[in-house]
């Protein structure tokens, strides 16, 4: 009975977004839109959404189209695709946050996602009350929470403070308690979107650990990530979603290889880099928005080409509505497999803290020399508060194309297949034994 027993089955799922209407705010805006249409002008408020011609038709965008798959009990299924391919839309549909426009899906048992950690926590309520409230929001009954209560408190290690309002908790205690509730939900199907995961690295590790456990207990896991190494380690099977369609369903290694092929040509052949502009709006925080990302040469000219060993300047334009505790900007550099090569963070890593945010401002990150071999690299850009908590996280916001240069003077064009990093070096040869 263990063979081929689906717990989740999606049939021709589709999601259509109407572009002109996204964020339609007020009657006044609708009137101005109507007035523009009357005069035959284009919609003045239409949002430009990243998308390729095929998905858009007359102001509509199929974020997801005709996606069918099924997942068996105990399976860990990876989902890969570029930013904006439709992965997050798929998860939103499976968690019932939004309805599909077409198709249907069926589940056996309870579905949960680790997105929900701490959802609905109220600072004025005590830890105990929040555990019950959060549990109920996640779909547990009062009796169920009561049964697991002691276990949750023990797991969170907040014992003596359980009747204190959570506003007095340290952020670590807060996250532990929130995670403890989610961890005791025991869903039959767990959805993990690492792309959207917030919290510090330790917390993210905990999430991944929880995922492994869940699968061990016969639960089913759907895992979305840009980290191909983790994906390959954890998932035997994966789906590749591109431009809203399911283009491949098969063994993980093959799917990743296909995914990397689609990534290769992200910046046009004549460009040094590409910025995923849609991501800036999509991942904006109500009080903090990264409005622009630009790359320049070290002398401030627009970046036209980036060769091995060349330096660059990254300009992060932001808009902040308020101050944050210990604000920091973070930039991660990843290779083509999504493995992190460099992690820069104004503080504590770089030790150059940002004192105060302006209402608007620009952070400039100058890198003297980028010792990368030829190939495609990506930059994650984000804003962090209290040392470790992501406020804005733009994964793979920038794709860099590094062109080869004969740095070693050997006449060889080095690309990623020969290692990602170049180092200044010299060989010395001493025939015979070591000199005394």
């Amino acid at each position: 009975m263990t063979a081929a027993h689906p717990v989740l089955q999606a049939e021709r799922l589709g999601k259509l977004y109407r572009l002109g209407y996204i964020g339609s705010g007020s009657l006044a805006q609708d009137l101005s839109r109507w007035w523009a249409r009357l005069r035959g002008r284009p919609d003045p408020l239409a949002k430009i959404v990243e998308g390729r011609a095929g998905r858009q038709a007359a102001g509509h965008l199929w974020a997801l189209r005709d996606v069918s798959f099924s997942v068996d009990r105990g399976e860990i299924l990876g989902i890969v695709g570029q930013n904006g391919a439709g992965k997050s839309t798929l998860l939103k549909i499976l968690t019932k946050i939004t309805r599909p426009t077409s198709g249907l899906f069926r589940v056996r048992g309870r579905v949960a996602s680790l997105l929900e950690v701490g959802t609905g926590f109220h600072p004025e309520l005590s830890g105990r009350e929040n555990v019950f409230l959060n549990g109920a929001i996640l779909g547990m009954t009062r009796a169920e929470v009561a049964r697991k209560f002691d276990e949750i408190v023990a797991f969170a290690e907040v014992g003596p403070f359980i009747d204190t309002p959570v506003k007095r908790y340290s952020s670590g205690m807060y996250v532990r308690l929130a995670f403890a509730v989610a961890a005791h939900l025991e869903p039959d199907i767990l959805l993990v979107d690492e792309v959207l995961a917030v919290g510090d690295a330790a917390f993210q590790r905990k999430c991944l650990g929880k995922m492994g456990d869940a699968a061990g207990q016969g639960r089913t896991v759907l895992f979305v990530s840009h980290n191909m190494a983790a994906m390959e380690r954890l998932c035997p099977r994966a789906l590749l979603i591109d431009e809203g369609r399911l283009v491949m369903d098969g063994p993980c290694a093959e799917v990743i290889a296909a995914h990397l092929r689609t990534l290769r040509d992200e910046p046009g052949p004549e460009l040094a880099y590409a910025v995923n502009l849609a991501l800036l709006d999509e991942r904006a925080h109500p009080d903090m928005r990264i409005r622009s990302l630009e790359l320049a040469t070290p002398d401030g000219a627009p970046l036209r080409a980036l060769a091995t060993g060349q330096g660059l300047e990254l300009r992060i334009g932001y808009e902040a509505r308020r101050q944050f505790v210990s604000p920091a900007f973070a930039v991660h550099l990843n290779d083509h497999l999504g493995r992190r090569l460099v992690q820069l963070n104004t503080s504590p890593i770089s030790g150059q803290p940002v004192e105060r945010l302006g209402a608007r401002g620009t952070m400039r990150l100058r890198i003297d020399a980028l010792p990368l071999t030829a190939g495609t690299y990506t930059l994650d850009v984000g804003f962090v508060r209290e040392q470790s908590e992501w406020v804005v996280k733009l994964e793979r916001a920038v794709t860099l194309r590094v062109t080869p240069r004969d740095v070693y003077g050997s006449g060889m064009a080095l690309d990623q297949s020969r290692g990602a990093i170049v180092v200044g070096h010299r060989w010395e040869h001493e025939p015979g034994g070591p000199t005394p």
Binding site: S24, T95, I97, T98, R99, L104, R106, L125, L133, I137
Partner: protein, 283 residues
């Protein structure tokens, strides 16, 4: 035990009917409704100096203001009842209706953060707000009864009638009206944010169209029928008739009001369910 033999627990389709209201699901989440009620209550008064005392102060101060302005300066009739008791009765009842309406009207906008992260029956939010309003109503109603008792003891012409026993039904009726209208507005505010401004002063205007600070008997006879078509009007008049002995108690108007209220609620539920499914795409 073969877990594998279980049937599908749920099927989510693109298109479900207009009348697929999933009220059973809301019932399954009743614990959540109660916890929301508790959260509302705690968060409302924890950061204030006077705490729940505000619940008593608000109607007392408003009643005093009304007594001075409408009772004394303007000299509006109160059907021969003591001013304080008359205004307090109307105000306490009206406030419950207005609270239900305004606090459910911004459901989607105020809960966007929560709704964007996790699914639970969205109706739990407005329903919990209507229920938490009952606390306020209970405390203020006790105040009203105390004021009545005091007036009766000092010989004022207040004569409670058996119709007072209908009070729970009348309160339920106001809850249905407030909830129905509120979720209609909240469903529309997802598209038109400016409706929020309309609602705050619309409620104010509606109060003057409802016999709160004047008895319906003050309305010229040819318009009285029209005034009683307002679904809140017969409820407030019936409450006054029951507890104070003066007012227009009209079962026909109450029946009509109940029918209108249920229609509003049904319309609200249908709209709310439509919006709920795709709401996250519009904010």
């Amino acid at each position: 035990m073969d877990k594998g033999a279980r049937a599908w627990t749920e099927t989510v389709r693109a298109d479900s009917g207009w009348f697929d209201l999933r009220l059973r699901e809301l019932w399954a989440y009743r614990d959540l409704v109660l916890l929301f009620v508790r959260r509302d209550f705690v968060s409302l008064y924890k950061q204030t100096i006077l705490g729940p005392l505000w619940l008593v102060l608000q109607p007392v101060l408003t009643t005093l203001a009304f007594t001075v302005v409408f009772g004394n300066f303007a000299g509006l009739s109160t059907d021969g009842l003591p001013h304080m008791a008359f205004y307090l009765c109307g105000l306490v009842a009206w406030r419950y209706f207005a609270d239900c309406l305004t606090r459910t009207a911004d459901t989607f906008v105020s809960s966007a953060g929560l709704f964007g992260k996790v699914y639970f029956p969205r109706l739990a939010v407005p329903v919990s707000r209507v229920v938490s309003g009952l606390f306020t109503l209970g405390i203020q109603f006790a105040l009203f009864l105390a004021v009545c008792a005091w007036f009766m003891a000092s010989g004022a012409p207040i004569r409670p009638r058996p119709e007072a026993l209908l009070a729970p039904l009348l309160v339920l009726l106001m809850a249905v009206q407030g909830l129905g209208l509120g979720i209609i507005v909240s469903s529309m505010t997802t598209k038109y944010r400016d409706l929020r401004f309309l609602i705050s002063f619309g409620v104010q205007l509606l109060m003057y169209l409802t016999p709160v600070i004047y008895p319906v008997s003050l309305v010229p006879a040819q318009y009285r029928e029209l005034a009683m078509l307002n679904p809140v009007a017969p409820v407030i008049e019936a409450l006054r008739y029951g507890f104070l002995g003066q007012g227009a108690f009209s079962p026909a108007h109450l029946g009509l009001s109940a029918a209108v209220s249920l229609a509003l609620l049904l319309l609200g539920l249908v709209l709310f369910n439509r919006v709920e499914k795709t709401f996250m795409d519009t904010v």
